[in-house]
């Protein structure tokens, strides 16, 4: 762990500031570190904040499993970052590992536990029935006309989503819940709603003909509607460069995607984690760090989703240059089209763009854009809070950017400025 990596950990700017205050402050109770016989290092600390029970935070190196008892719905939280930065500064004394820390380096984190697989026959039958039900429901909606939905009553949508959850179709239910906010939500809502209904209907169609599909296509359909099936095939070993994180909040849960690029394997991998608020416990690999270990890929027509066979461990950093991960806009978009034609349910697609200029909105208009040397333009999210920082970094020397291609918008997650740096923890400029 270097100082730069610790800086990259913060999921947002307030957390980064709070962690800095905490590390320099005097709210520390007991704190210490100890090495286990297996060679792992355990760190722990208690923070006395107010009259509540002290906040207990632990970390294990080099696997980077972090836990904290604070209530923040952020991962890593300020306590974890403060603990690691104090450890780096050498101001934490060694000590005997207390009971509540012992065993951290063994046992999987709850988020990493392999959930019940949708391959179970009972579940499969329920899932197929649930998707058939969804197809009928969608058909009824369109049959009666979407104009009836203009008042934006979400109840029927949420009811349908709940029925899908009962049928183990968790991802389809999430999509439906997400769509429920669209009807009546401003101009051209039908133009925004109908494509998503159509794609959901295609997914139902896939389940109608589930037995005709190839194993890879079945796995993709399962991942899109329910949950990813078990990883199959031989694990891929090597060094993995951590290029970015994307976190989404869902109720009291955080869903985090960690994008890895195999420096030796020359391929992408994405790790998905769910962290529950209130008892934060999970693995976090900082952006720009390199992790070593074996990944098992979930089967699919364009396999990218993976799970570590055993927790990845931090390794000496590499920056990924010269591996061919960076592309021009043209190549990246062509790659996306190819991936989408293999897996039509693809939800997130990684792109590393090389030598891109950031362009501020034209006078009197909105929308930041990216431009590469060929003059191709990609839209950036609106509003975009990191534009001025990127523009300042890129003046005179266009940097490489990593991000997700998300429904026609490039969402930057990290930038290469002497090393991969996350966007999330940086202070925003309006």
């Amino acid at each position: 762990m270097s100082r730069e990596h610790i800086r990259e950990m913060a999921p947002d700017y307030p957390t980064s500031r709070a962690a800095e205050d905490l590390a320099l402050g005097d709210k520390w109770g007991a704190a210490g570190w100890g090495d286990t016989p297996s060679g792992d290092r355990l760190l722990w600390a208690e923070f006395v904040e107010g009259k509540r029970a002290p906040t207990r935070v632990t970390a294990s190196l080099p696997a980077m499993r972090l836990t904290c008892s604070c209530a923040a719905l952020r991962f890593p939280c300020r306590h974890m970052i403060a603990l690691l930065s104090r450890h780096l500064a050498g101001t934490i004394p060694p000590g005997a590992v207390p009971d509540w820390v012992a065993g951290l380096e063994r046992g999987p984190a709850p988020g990493a536990r392999v959930k019940d697989s949708p391959d179970n026959p009972v579940r499969r039958a329920a899932l197929v029935a649930g998707m058939a039900d969804l197809a009928r429901w969608l058909g009824d909606m369109v049959g009666q006309g979407l104009a009836a939905q203009a008042r934006g009553n979400r109840a029927p949508w949420l009811d349908a989503a709940n029925r899908l959850v009962d049928a183990y179709a968790f991802e389809a239910a999430r999509e439906l819940r997400d769509m429920s906010a669209i009807p009546g939500s401003g101009p051209d809502w039908p133009e925004r709603l109908l494509p998503r209904m159509g794609r959901l209907a295609l997914l139902c169609e896939a389940f109608r003909r589930f037995d005709e599909l190839s194993p890879a296509e079945r796995a993709d359909a399962l991942a899109a509607a329910a949950r990813s099936p078990r990883p199959e095939g031989p694990p891929v070993a090597g060094d993995w460069l951590v290029v970015g994180h994307r976190a989404e909040t869902e109720g009291r849960q955080l869903r985090i995607r960690t994008w890895l690029y195999g420096v030796t394997a020359r391929r992408w991998a994405v790790l998905s984690d769910t962290i529950a608020g209130g008892r934060l416990d999970g693995f976090h690999l900082p952006t720009g760090a390199t992790a070593r270990g074996e990944l098992a890929y979930v089967p699919g027509a364009w396999p990218v989703s993976a799970r570590p066979v055993s927790p990845l461990r931090l390794a000496p950093p590499v920056d990924g240059s010269g591996t061919g991960m960076a592309m021009t806009i043209d190549e990246a978009i062509a790659g996306y089209a190819a991936a989408l034609s293999a897996n039509p349910w693809l939800s997130a697609y990684p792109m590393t763009l090389r030598e891109v200029f950031v362009e501020p909105p034209e006078p009197g208009r909105k929308g930041w854009r990216l431009r590469d040397r060929d003059g191709l333009l990609l839209p950036l999210p609106e509003p975009f809070a990191h534009g001025w920082r990127l523009l300042s970094l890129s003046a005179g020397r266009p940097p490489a950017l990593f991000g997700e291609w998300d429904n026609g918008v490039f969402v930057p997650l990290s930038v290469f400025d002497g090393g991969w740096q996350a966007m999330a923890g940086r202070r925003e400029v309006p």
Binding site: R17, E20, A135, L138, G139, D140, V142, G143, Q144, G145, L146, A147, P190, E191, L194, P195, R196, M197, G198, R199, A201, L202, E205, D319, S321, G322, T323, G324, A326, I329, I333, Y336, A337, L340, S341, P344, R354, E355, E359, P360, P363, R371, D374, G375, L376, L377, L378, W388, L391, S392, A395, G396, R397, P399, G408, F416, D417, G418, R427, V429
Partner: protein, 529 residues
């Protein structure tokens, strides 16, 4: 992701009621799917076609292509830019930009500027943002943003203040018109480079400015004040706002040879007379409206007083201070045929010694007369009245003066010097003053000067050379002083340590200059060819 409009219309009306859109409204590639869905219920056909069309559009999306001629961003020219400051200085800068704790912020900015460094690239937008929100910081912020900052500022309307080309009157004028709240800051920046241009900018909108701004704008002329500014300030003497009038009169009195000084000398040159080697005030003609215009105050309640004669001692005192404060000092040496020392001795022997000495000191400060300043300081025994003259001395003279006062055990003199000297002390003086404060903290905690000294200790913390921090920490902590002094000394030591960290962060980099510009040293992502 654009679906055929017929499809959306059909979905809105309802697939069971609407006609199915014809195959030709879909992309040709979907023809096969269209045909395959023949025979399915209409709502299923519509949904699946919508899904297929959406997928088709998403997969086939192509980035728009802007021809090279449309390139709007101005070229970025980093040539001749300042080197980037050290990482330690960048960390400090980042912290101070993010927080409200800004006591050391101006010092960091001026240190960076004096060292000829600029802020790191990633922080430039934050600096520009801070300047947009706090116009008073702009004169200190603009030098450290570098070429990159100026380039960025030209792209963001909110940051235009930093993109002003001081040498270009049109650019200055546009920025002046666009941003009324930033005018004072812009005037200060332009005045540094081109005094006349700043004055012309002020004149363009002078009549329409609100009172609050008119009070502040003349103060920006203090730097580089000359006879060229006289016509404008003369007009400001007729301003509708009293504070603006007073500021204009004060500035005119600072210009040697200005018409205002001539008028006051003609009207009140005989206010002091010499009688038996003593300076005395002489009865005066009534204060005319012309004198009031020049900044002379009428006697209180004078509306009813016949002849506007000063009646009370306070009236007299004010009249002497105001007039003698403006009249050239040479006037008195010529009039009485005496040296400055002689005039001062006569004033001290007269009936109004304190008032006349204060007035002469004011005149010496305005006329920047070092001979008079030294004569007044020594003649009046380094009293608080002559303290305003301290800035006229060179640092060496002031350090010598301080050493003399310390050696003489003149606590009041040391307090005056501490209060009035605004620049940084040298190390020897810093050490001597640390010892002085240490003595004062222990000998007599309830002495008359104790509270004053603890106040001055806070000011001294900003002027003491940071190199003394170690000495201060060793000599001032754990002194047998009372609680108030111990707190003050601890705050002082902490402040000095913080300043030392600041100086090391900024200047330490200059020593390791050969490391080179970080921008040049940063590895650029190697592209696979």
């Amino acid at each position: 992701m654009n679906l055929p409009p017929e499809l959306v219309a059909a979905a809105l009306v309802g697939a069971s009621r609407a006609e199915m859109p014809a195959a030709r409204s879909f992309p040709a590639a979907l023809g096969e799917i269209y045909a395959a869905l023949d025979g399915r219920p209409p709502e299923e056909r519509l949904l699946l076609l919508a899904g297929a069309a959406a997928l088709h559009a998403t997969a086939g999306w192509l980035p728009s292509h802007a021809p090279g001629t449309e390139w709007r961003l101005p070229a970025f020219r980093p040539e001749g830019d300042r080197p980037v400051c050290s990482l330690a200085a960048a960390d400090l800068l980042e912290r101070m930009l993010a927080r409200q704790d800004t006591t050391l912020f101006p010092e960091l900015l001026s240190l960076l500027d004096r060292a000829g460094l600029r802020a790191p690239d990633a922080l430039v937008p934050h600096i520009l943002d801070r300047g947009a929100k706090a116009p008073r910081l702009r004169p200190a912020l603009v030098p450290i943003i570098g070429e990159r900052g100026r380039w960025l500022a030209s792209l963001n309307p909110a940051w235009r203040y930093a993109a002003v080309d001081v040498a270009d009157p049109l650019s200055c004028r546009a920025a002046w018109e666009a941003d009324p709240a930033g005018r004072v800051a812009l005037a200060i920046i332009v005045r540094r480079e081109n005094p006349a241009a700043a004055r012309r900018l002020i004149e363009t909108t002078w009549r329409s400015e609100p009172d609050a701004i008119r009070r502040e704008l003349p103060a920006t002329l203090e730097a580089g004040l000359s006879l060229d500014d006289e016509p404008f300030l003369e007009r400001a003497l007729d301003d509708r706002d009293a504070l603006t009038r007073r500021k204009a009169a004060d500035l005119l009195a600072n210009i040697p040879g200005s018409r205002l000084v001539g008028r006051v000398t003609a009207a009140a040159g005989d206010i002091l007379i010499l009688s038996d080697g003593r300076l005395l005030p002489a009865p005066q003609a009534p204060i005319t409206d012309a004198m009031v215009r020049d900044g002379i105050t009428r006697a209180t309640g004078s509306a009813a007083a016949p002849g506007n004669q000063p009646r009370s001692a306070a009236d007299w005192s004010r009249l002497i201070t105001q007039t003698v404060g403006m009249i050239p000092l040479d006037h008195w040496t010529e009039r009485f045929g005496m040296t400055p020392e002689g005039v001062i001795a006569a004033a001290l022997a007269g009936t109004w010694p304190r008032t006349i000495i204060t007035a002469l000191a004011t005149a010496a400060r305005r006329q920047n007369d070092r001979n008079w300043a030294i004569a007044l300081l020594t003649g009046d025994n380094y009293s608080e009245r002559t303290g305003m003259l301290l800035p006229l001395l060179t640092p060496d003279e002031c350090h010598a003066l301080l050493a003399g006062r310390l050696a003489a055990g003149d606590d009041a003199g040391v307090v005056m010097i501490l209060r009035r000297w605004t620049e940084e002390w040298d190390e020897a003086s810093g050490v001597a003053l640390v010892d002085f404060f240490g003595r004062q903290a222990t000998i007599d905690p309830d002495a008359k000067l104790s509270a004053t000294l603890r106040f001055l200790l806070r000011q001294f913390a900003r002027q003491c050379p940071p190199a003394v921090a170690g000495y201060a920490a060793g000599n001032l902590s754990r002194l047998p002083a009372n609680k108030a002094w111990q707190t003050s000394l601890a705050v002082f030591i902490d402040a000095l340590k913080a300043r030392m960290a600041l100086h090391e962060a900024v200047t330490g980099w200059r020593m390791r200059e050969h490391v080179g510009d970080r921008a040049a040293a940063t590895p650029v992502f190697r592209v696979e060819i």
